[in-house]
Symmetry: C2
Subunit: 213 residues, 2 copies
Protein backbone atom coordinates (compact mmCIF):
# COMPACT_ATOMS: atom_id res chain seq x y z
CA UNK A 1 0.00 0.00 0.00
CA UNK A 2 2.74 2.42 0.95
CA UNK A 3 5.51 3.39 -1.39
CA UNK A 4 9.08 2.47 -0.61
CA UNK A 5 11.05 5.39 0.68
CA UNK A 6 14.08 4.83 -1.51
CA UNK A 7 14.67 4.30 -5.18
CA UNK A 8 11.88 6.45 -6.38
CA UNK A 9 13.12 7.50 -9.76
CA UNK A 10 11.16 10.70 -9.67
CA UNK A 11 13.83 12.51 -11.64
CA UNK A 12 13.75 10.39 -14.74
CA UNK A 13 13.29 12.89 -17.55
CA UNK A 14 14.27 16.23 -16.08
CA UNK A 15 17.81 16.82 -14.88
CA UNK A 16 18.84 16.71 -11.26
CA UNK A 17 16.42 18.75 -9.22
CA UNK A 18 17.69 21.27 -6.82
CA UNK A 19 16.38 20.52 -3.32
CA UNK A 20 15.59 17.52 -1.21
CA UNK A 21 14.41 14.63 -3.39
CA UNK A 22 10.83 13.52 -3.27
CA UNK A 23 10.13 10.41 -1.25
CA UNK A 24 7.36 9.37 -3.61
CA UNK A 25 6.58 9.04 -7.30
CA UNK A 26 3.61 11.29 -8.10
CA UNK A 27 2.10 8.89 -10.62
CA UNK A 28 2.35 5.98 -8.19
CA UNK A 29 0.73 8.07 -5.48
CA UNK A 30 -2.14 9.00 -7.79
CA UNK A 31 -2.68 5.34 -8.53
CA UNK A 32 -2.85 4.52 -4.84
CA UNK A 33 -5.21 7.42 -4.22
CA UNK A 34 -7.38 6.19 -7.07
CA UNK A 35 -7.55 2.72 -5.53
CA UNK A 36 -8.68 4.12 -2.23
CA UNK A 37 -11.18 6.56 -3.74
CA UNK A 38 -12.65 3.73 -5.75
CA UNK A 39 -13.07 1.58 -2.68
CA UNK A 40 -14.52 4.09 -0.26
CA UNK A 41 -15.82 6.95 -2.39
CA UNK A 42 -15.18 10.65 -2.16
CA UNK A 43 -16.78 11.72 1.11
CA UNK A 44 -15.80 8.67 3.15
CA UNK A 45 -12.14 8.90 2.19
CA UNK A 46 -10.22 11.17 4.54
CA UNK A 47 -6.92 12.85 3.88
CA UNK A 48 -5.46 10.70 6.62
CA UNK A 49 -6.57 7.60 4.73
CA UNK A 50 -5.04 8.96 1.54
CA UNK A 51 -1.90 9.85 3.42
CA UNK A 52 -1.60 6.30 4.73
CA UNK A 53 -2.34 4.77 1.33
CA UNK A 54 0.20 6.85 -0.55
CA UNK A 55 2.84 6.98 2.15
CA UNK A 56 2.89 10.75 1.81
CA UNK A 57 2.01 12.90 4.77
CA UNK A 58 -0.80 15.37 4.42
CA UNK A 59 1.25 18.48 3.70
CA UNK A 60 3.16 16.70 0.93
CA UNK A 61 -0.11 15.44 -0.46
CA UNK A 62 -1.48 18.94 -0.45
CA UNK A 63 1.64 20.44 -1.93
CA UNK A 64 1.84 17.91 -4.72
CA UNK A 65 -1.78 17.62 -5.81
CA UNK A 66 -3.73 20.37 -4.13
CA UNK A 67 -6.75 19.76 -1.96
CA UNK A 68 -8.90 16.66 -1.79
CA UNK A 69 -11.11 17.69 -4.67
CA UNK A 70 -8.12 18.31 -6.94
CA UNK A 71 -6.67 14.95 -6.01
CA UNK A 72 -9.98 13.30 -6.78
CA UNK A 73 -10.12 14.89 -10.21
CA UNK A 74 -6.54 13.84 -10.91
CA UNK A 75 -7.43 10.32 -9.84
CA UNK A 76 -10.39 10.40 -12.17
CA UNK A 77 -8.21 11.38 -15.12
CA UNK A 78 -5.83 8.60 -14.24
CA UNK A 79 -8.72 6.14 -14.25
CA UNK A 80 -9.90 7.34 -17.63
CA UNK A 81 -6.42 7.14 -19.09
CA UNK A 82 -5.98 3.57 -17.90
CA UNK A 83 -9.35 2.69 -19.33
CA UNK A 84 -8.84 4.22 -22.76
CA UNK A 85 -5.37 2.72 -23.03
CA UNK A 86 -6.93 -0.73 -22.91
CA UNK A 87 -9.65 0.27 -25.36
CA UNK A 88 -7.35 1.35 -28.16
CA UNK A 89 -6.29 -2.19 -28.98
CA UNK A 90 -9.90 -3.24 -29.27
CA UNK A 91 -10.60 -0.39 -31.66
CA UNK A 92 -7.70 -1.33 -33.91
CA UNK A 93 -8.31 -5.07 -33.95
CA UNK A 94 -9.74 -6.62 -37.12
CA UNK A 95 -12.54 -8.55 -35.45
CA UNK A 96 -16.27 -8.95 -35.85
CA UNK A 97 -18.93 -7.22 -33.78
CA UNK A 98 -19.45 -10.09 -31.34
CA UNK A 99 -15.78 -10.35 -30.57
CA UNK A 100 -15.41 -6.59 -30.29
CA UNK A 101 -18.32 -6.14 -27.91
CA UNK A 102 -17.16 -9.09 -25.86
CA UNK A 103 -13.70 -7.62 -25.51
CA UNK A 104 -15.03 -4.21 -24.54
CA UNK A 105 -17.34 -5.62 -21.91
CA UNK A 106 -14.67 -7.97 -20.62
CA UNK A 107 -12.25 -5.07 -20.32
CA UNK A 108 -14.86 -3.18 -18.31
CA UNK A 109 -15.51 -6.18 -16.10
CA UNK A 110 -11.78 -6.62 -15.53
CA UNK A 111 -11.51 -3.04 -14.36
CA UNK A 112 -14.59 -3.22 -12.20
CA UNK A 113 -13.36 -6.41 -10.58
CA UNK A 114 -10.04 -4.96 -9.52
CA UNK A 115 -9.59 -3.80 -5.96
CA UNK A 116 -7.52 -4.80 -2.99
CA UNK A 117 -10.49 -5.44 -0.76
CA UNK A 118 -13.00 -6.85 -3.21
CA UNK A 119 -14.25 -5.44 -6.51
CA UNK A 120 -14.32 -1.65 -6.56
CA UNK A 121 -16.70 -1.16 -9.46
CA UNK A 122 -16.60 1.71 -11.90
CA UNK A 123 -15.13 4.98 -10.72
CA UNK A 124 -17.41 6.98 -12.98
CA UNK A 125 -20.52 5.33 -11.59
CA UNK A 126 -19.13 5.78 -8.08
CA UNK A 127 -18.72 9.45 -8.78
CA UNK A 128 -22.16 9.96 -10.24
CA UNK A 129 -23.65 8.29 -7.18
CA UNK A 130 -21.68 10.43 -4.77
CA UNK A 131 -22.29 13.98 -3.61
CA UNK A 132 -19.36 15.00 -5.79
CA UNK A 133 -21.78 15.02 -8.71
CA UNK A 134 -23.04 18.36 -7.41
CA UNK A 135 -19.72 19.84 -8.53
CA UNK A 136 -20.14 21.18 -12.08
CA UNK A 137 -16.63 20.30 -13.19
CA UNK A 138 -16.88 16.74 -11.92
CA UNK A 139 -20.34 16.49 -13.39
CA UNK A 140 -18.97 17.47 -16.77
CA UNK A 141 -16.20 14.88 -16.52
CA UNK A 142 -18.68 12.15 -15.74
CA UNK A 143 -21.00 13.00 -18.60
CA UNK A 144 -18.06 13.16 -20.95
CA UNK A 145 -16.99 9.73 -19.73
CA UNK A 146 -20.39 8.25 -20.43
CA UNK A 147 -20.54 9.88 -23.82
CA UNK A 148 -17.18 8.47 -24.82
CA UNK A 149 -18.37 4.96 -24.06
CA UNK A 150 -21.58 5.53 -26.00
CA UNK A 151 -19.57 6.82 -28.94
CA UNK A 152 -17.27 3.83 -28.80
CA UNK A 153 -20.19 1.44 -29.04
CA UNK A 154 -21.80 3.49 -31.81
CA UNK A 155 -18.55 3.13 -33.72
CA UNK A 156 -18.63 -0.63 -33.10
CA UNK A 157 -22.10 -1.04 -34.57
CA UNK A 158 -21.44 1.29 -37.49
CA UNK A 159 -18.31 -0.65 -38.29
CA UNK A 160 -20.25 -3.88 -38.09
CA UNK A 161 -22.77 -2.53 -40.59
CA UNK A 162 -19.98 -1.39 -42.87
CA UNK A 163 -18.47 -4.86 -42.66
CA UNK A 164 -21.80 -6.41 -43.55
CA UNK A 165 -22.21 -8.15 -40.21
CA UNK A 166 -25.42 -6.34 -39.34
CA UNK A 167 -28.15 -4.79 -41.54
CA UNK A 168 -28.25 -1.01 -41.70
CA UNK A 169 -31.82 -1.11 -40.45
CA UNK A 170 -30.82 -1.53 -36.82
CA UNK A 171 -31.00 1.43 -34.44
CA UNK A 172 -27.33 2.02 -33.81
CA UNK A 173 -27.90 4.56 -31.06
CA UNK A 174 -30.19 2.34 -29.05
CA UNK A 175 -27.91 -0.68 -29.34
CA UNK A 176 -24.91 1.38 -28.31
CA UNK A 177 -26.69 2.68 -25.25
CA UNK A 178 -27.85 -0.80 -24.35
CA UNK A 179 -24.23 -1.90 -24.53
CA UNK A 180 -23.35 1.00 -22.25
CA UNK A 181 -26.08 -0.18 -19.91
CA UNK A 182 -24.32 -3.54 -19.72
CA UNK A 183 -21.23 -1.72 -18.52
CA UNK A 184 -23.31 -0.11 -15.80
CA UNK A 185 -24.57 -3.58 -14.93
CA UNK A 186 -21.02 -4.84 -14.67
CA UNK A 187 -20.08 -1.87 -12.49
CA UNK A 188 -23.00 -2.20 -10.14
CA UNK A 189 -23.07 -5.95 -9.76
CA UNK A 190 -19.35 -6.44 -9.37
CA UNK A 191 -19.35 -3.94 -6.53
CA UNK A 192 -22.38 -5.63 -5.01
CA UNK A 193 -20.20 -8.71 -4.73
CA UNK A 194 -21.85 -10.93 -7.32
CA UNK A 195 -19.54 -13.64 -8.66
CA UNK A 196 -17.65 -12.79 -11.81
CA UNK A 197 -18.83 -15.87 -13.67
CA UNK A 198 -22.43 -14.86 -13.19
CA UNK A 199 -21.88 -11.34 -14.50
CA UNK A 200 -19.81 -12.67 -17.36
CA UNK A 201 -22.58 -15.03 -18.39
CA UNK A 202 -25.00 -12.12 -18.49
CA UNK A 203 -22.62 -10.08 -20.61
CA UNK A 204 -22.09 -12.95 -23.04
CA UNK A 205 -25.83 -13.40 -23.41
CA UNK A 206 -26.28 -9.68 -23.91
CA UNK A 207 -23.68 -9.57 -26.66
CA UNK A 208 -25.53 -12.31 -28.47
CA UNK A 209 -28.81 -10.48 -28.08
CA UNK A 210 -27.34 -7.17 -29.23
CA UNK A 211 -25.83 -8.76 -32.34
CA UNK A 212 -29.09 -10.20 -33.54
CA UNK A 213 -30.14 -8.90 -36.93
Amino acid sequence: MVQKKDLVGADKAEGKRRGRPRAYAPDVAIGQALSLFRRTGYAATSLDDLSAATGMNRPSLYGAFGDKRALYIKSYHRYRDDYTAGAVDIFNADIDIRERLTRFLTLALDIHMTGEAGPSGCFTVMTVASDAIADPEIRALVREGFKDIDDAFVWCFRTAIARGELPDTIDVTVRAQMASAMIYLSAVRSRAGMPRAEIEATLVGAVEQLCQA
Copy 2:
Protein backbone atom coordinates in the same frame (compact mmCIF):
# COMPACT_ATOMS: atom_id res chain seq x y z
CA MET B 1 -38.36 20.50 4.18
CA VAL B 2 -39.25 20.76 7.87
CA GLN B 3 -42.38 19.30 9.31
CA LYS B 4 -45.02 21.52 10.81
CA LYS B 5 -44.93 21.55 14.56
CA ASP B 6 -48.64 21.10 15.06
CA LEU B 7 -51.27 18.75 13.78
CA VAL B 8 -49.11 15.71 13.62
CA GLY B 9 -51.62 12.96 13.97
CA ALA B 10 -49.02 10.64 15.35
CA ASP B 11 -51.55 8.99 17.59
CA LYS B 12 -53.83 7.71 14.90
CA ALA B 13 -54.20 4.02 15.65
CA GLU B 14 -53.01 3.60 19.24
CA GLY B 15 -54.92 5.27 22.06
CA LYS B 16 -53.77 8.43 23.77
CA ARG B 17 -50.11 8.14 24.66
CA ARG B 18 -48.94 9.03 28.08
CA GLY B 19 -46.24 11.69 27.82
CA ARG B 20 -45.47 14.71 25.75
CA PRO B 21 -46.70 14.26 22.20
CA ARG B 22 -44.23 13.87 19.37
CA ALA B 23 -43.63 16.93 17.25
CA TYR B 24 -43.09 14.80 14.17
CA ALA B 25 -44.61 11.91 12.28
CA PRO B 26 -42.05 9.10 12.10
CA ASP B 27 -43.03 8.03 8.59
CA VAL B 28 -42.82 11.60 7.32
CA ALA B 29 -39.40 11.98 8.92
CA ILE B 30 -38.17 8.79 7.29
CA GLY B 31 -39.34 10.11 3.95
CA GLN B 32 -37.42 13.33 4.44
CA ALA B 33 -34.34 11.45 5.56
CA LEU B 34 -34.64 9.27 2.48
CA SER B 35 -34.76 12.33 0.25
CA LEU B 36 -31.62 13.71 1.78
CA PHE B 37 -29.75 10.40 1.76
CA ARG B 38 -30.63 9.99 -1.89
CA ARG B 39 -29.30 13.40 -2.73
CA THR B 40 -26.03 13.39 -0.81
CA GLY B 41 -25.30 9.75 -0.09
CA TYR B 42 -24.48 8.03 3.16
CA ALA B 43 -21.10 9.40 4.17
CA ALA B 44 -21.69 12.99 3.10
CA THR B 45 -24.97 13.28 4.99
CA SER B 46 -24.45 14.39 8.58
CA LEU B 47 -26.85 14.01 11.45
CA ASP B 48 -27.12 17.78 11.51
CA ASP B 49 -28.28 17.73 7.91
CA LEU B 50 -30.79 15.03 8.72
CA SER B 51 -31.90 16.97 11.75
CA ALA B 52 -32.51 20.05 9.63
CA ALA B 53 -34.31 18.07 6.93
CA THR B 54 -36.66 16.29 9.31
CA GLY B 55 -37.16 19.14 11.74
CA MET B 56 -36.19 16.79 14.55
CA ASN B 57 -33.22 17.60 16.70
CA ARG B 58 -30.44 15.08 16.95
CA PRO B 59 -31.45 13.46 20.24
CA SER B 60 -34.99 12.92 19.00
CA LEU B 61 -33.64 11.51 15.79
CA TYR B 62 -31.42 9.18 17.73
CA GLY B 63 -34.15 8.15 20.12
CA ALA B 64 -36.64 7.48 17.37
CA PHE B 65 -34.55 5.66 14.79
CA GLY B 66 -31.21 4.82 16.36
CA ASP B 67 -27.93 5.87 14.85
CA LYS B 68 -27.18 6.99 11.33
CA ARG B 69 -26.75 3.48 10.00
CA ALA B 70 -30.11 2.36 11.40
CA LEU B 71 -31.80 5.41 9.92
CA TYR B 72 -30.21 4.68 6.57
CA ILE B 73 -31.49 1.11 6.60
CA LYS B 74 -34.97 2.32 7.56
CA SER B 75 -34.81 4.82 4.71
CA TYR B 76 -33.82 2.06 2.36
CA HIS B 77 -36.80 -0.06 3.36
CA ARG B 78 -39.02 2.93 2.84
CA TYR B 79 -37.61 3.39 -0.64
CA ARG B 80 -38.18 -0.25 -1.50
CA ASP B 81 -41.72 -0.13 -0.18
CA ASP B 82 -42.56 2.92 -2.27
CA TYR B 83 -41.06 1.25 -5.29
CA THR B 84 -42.86 -2.07 -4.95
CA ALA B 85 -46.15 -0.32 -4.26
CA GLY B 86 -45.97 1.21 -7.72
CA ALA B 87 -44.95 -2.07 -9.28
CA VAL B 88 -47.91 -4.07 -8.07
CA ASP B 89 -50.32 -2.37 -10.44
CA ILE B 90 -48.07 -3.15 -13.35
CA PHE B 91 -47.94 -6.81 -12.36
CA ASN B 92 -51.69 -7.05 -12.19
CA ALA B 93 -52.45 -5.18 -15.39
CA ASP B 94 -53.63 -7.17 -18.40
CA ILE B 95 -51.15 -5.72 -20.89
CA ASP B 96 -48.65 -7.00 -23.41
CA ILE B 97 -44.91 -7.24 -22.89
CA ARG B 98 -44.06 -3.94 -24.58
CA GLU B 99 -46.52 -2.04 -22.47
CA ARG B 100 -45.47 -3.82 -19.29
CA LEU B 101 -41.74 -3.18 -19.80
CA THR B 102 -42.46 0.41 -20.74
CA ARG B 103 -44.45 0.96 -17.58
CA PHE B 104 -41.78 -0.64 -15.40
CA LEU B 105 -39.00 1.42 -16.89
CA THR B 106 -41.09 4.58 -16.78
CA LEU B 107 -41.85 3.95 -13.13
CA ALA B 108 -38.13 3.59 -12.49
CA LEU B 109 -37.36 6.75 -14.41
CA ASP B 110 -40.05 8.61 -12.49
CA ILE B 111 -38.45 7.58 -9.22
CA HIS B 112 -34.94 8.36 -10.37
CA MET B 113 -36.01 11.77 -11.60
CA THR B 114 -37.52 12.82 -8.28
CA GLY B 115 -35.50 15.03 -5.98
CA GLU B 116 -35.78 18.54 -4.62
CA ALA B 117 -32.43 19.63 -6.02
CA GLY B 118 -32.31 17.76 -9.30
CA PRO B 119 -32.75 14.04 -10.00
CA SER B 120 -31.51 11.86 -7.16
CA GLY B 121 -31.15 8.61 -9.07
CA CYS B 122 -31.65 5.16 -7.62
CA PHE B 123 -31.10 4.69 -3.92
CA THR B 124 -29.96 1.12 -4.40
CA VAL B 125 -27.32 2.11 -6.94
CA MET B 126 -26.28 4.99 -4.67
CA THR B 127 -25.83 2.53 -1.85
CA VAL B 128 -23.83 0.03 -3.85
CA ALA B 129 -21.53 2.83 -4.95
CA SER B 130 -21.01 4.11 -1.42
CA ASP B 131 -18.78 2.82 1.33
CA ALA B 132 -21.90 1.51 3.03
CA ILE B 133 -21.66 -1.52 0.75
CA ALA B 134 -18.89 -2.79 3.04
CA ASP B 135 -21.59 -3.41 5.62
CA PRO B 136 -22.81 -7.01 5.26
CA GLU B 137 -26.41 -6.25 6.17
CA ILE B 138 -26.66 -3.36 3.73
CA ARG B 139 -24.88 -5.46 1.12
CA ALA B 140 -27.51 -8.16 1.51
CA LEU B 141 -30.32 -5.63 1.17
CA VAL B 142 -28.85 -4.29 -2.04
CA ARG B 143 -28.38 -7.69 -3.62
CA GLU B 144 -31.89 -8.64 -2.64
CA GLY B 145 -33.15 -5.45 -4.26
CA PHE B 146 -31.39 -6.23 -7.52
CA LYS B 147 -32.65 -9.78 -7.46
CA ASP B 148 -36.23 -8.67 -6.99
CA ILE B 149 -36.03 -6.50 -10.08
CA ASP B 150 -34.46 -9.32 -12.07
CA ASP B 151 -37.21 -11.65 -10.93
CA ALA B 152 -39.86 -9.12 -11.87
CA PHE B 153 -38.52 -8.90 -15.41
CA VAL B 154 -38.16 -12.67 -15.66
CA TRP B 155 -41.83 -12.88 -14.74
CA CYS B 156 -42.63 -10.32 -17.45
CA PHE B 157 -40.93 -12.32 -20.16
CA ARG B 158 -42.31 -15.66 -18.98
CA THR B 159 -45.78 -14.18 -18.98
CA ALA B 160 -45.21 -12.82 -22.46
CA ILE B 161 -44.25 -16.30 -23.65
CA ALA B 162 -47.29 -17.79 -21.97
CA ARG B 163 -49.46 -15.20 -23.70
CA GLY B 164 -47.88 -16.08 -27.02
CA GLU B 165 -46.26 -12.68 -27.50
CA LEU B 166 -42.75 -14.07 -27.64
CA PRO B 167 -41.38 -17.47 -28.69
CA ASP B 168 -40.19 -19.74 -25.90
CA THR B 169 -36.79 -19.89 -27.56
CA ILE B 170 -35.67 -16.56 -26.14
CA ASP B 171 -33.24 -16.47 -23.21
CA VAL B 172 -35.52 -15.15 -20.50
CA THR B 173 -32.74 -14.66 -17.98
CA VAL B 174 -30.57 -12.59 -20.30
CA ARG B 175 -33.43 -10.40 -21.41
CA ALA B 176 -34.51 -9.82 -17.85
CA GLN B 177 -31.02 -8.77 -16.84
CA MET B 178 -30.75 -6.51 -19.84
CA ALA B 179 -33.99 -4.89 -18.73
CA SER B 180 -32.45 -4.48 -15.28
CA ALA B 181 -29.44 -2.91 -16.93
CA MET B 182 -31.75 -0.33 -18.48
CA ILE B 183 -32.87 0.57 -14.96
CA TYR B 184 -29.25 1.10 -14.01
CA LEU B 185 -28.91 3.29 -17.06
CA SER B 186 -31.89 5.33 -15.97
CA ALA B 187 -30.45 5.61 -12.47
CA VAL B 188 -27.01 6.66 -13.57
CA ARG B 189 -27.93 9.04 -16.34
CA SER B 190 -30.73 10.79 -14.52
CA ARG B 191 -28.35 11.56 -11.69
CA ALA B 192 -25.73 12.70 -14.16
CA GLY B 193 -28.23 15.34 -15.21
CA MET B 194 -29.12 14.07 -18.68
CA PRO B 195 -32.49 15.33 -19.90
CA ARG B 196 -35.42 13.04 -19.24
CA ALA B 197 -36.53 12.97 -22.86
CA GLU B 198 -33.17 11.62 -23.91
CA ILE B 199 -33.22 8.82 -21.35
CA GLU B 200 -36.83 8.07 -22.16
CA ALA B 201 -36.01 7.70 -25.84
CA THR B 202 -33.29 5.22 -24.98
CA LEU B 203 -35.65 3.21 -22.81
CA VAL B 204 -38.32 3.15 -25.51
CA GLY B 205 -35.80 1.91 -28.04
CA ALA B 206 -34.55 -0.70 -25.62
CA VAL B 207 -38.04 -2.02 -24.98
CA GLU B 208 -38.51 -2.46 -28.70
CA GLN B 209 -35.18 -4.24 -28.99
CA LEU B 210 -35.90 -6.51 -26.02
CA CYS B 211 -39.30 -7.48 -27.40
CA GLN B 212 -37.94 -8.65 -30.74
CA ALA B 213 -38.61 -12.29 -31.43
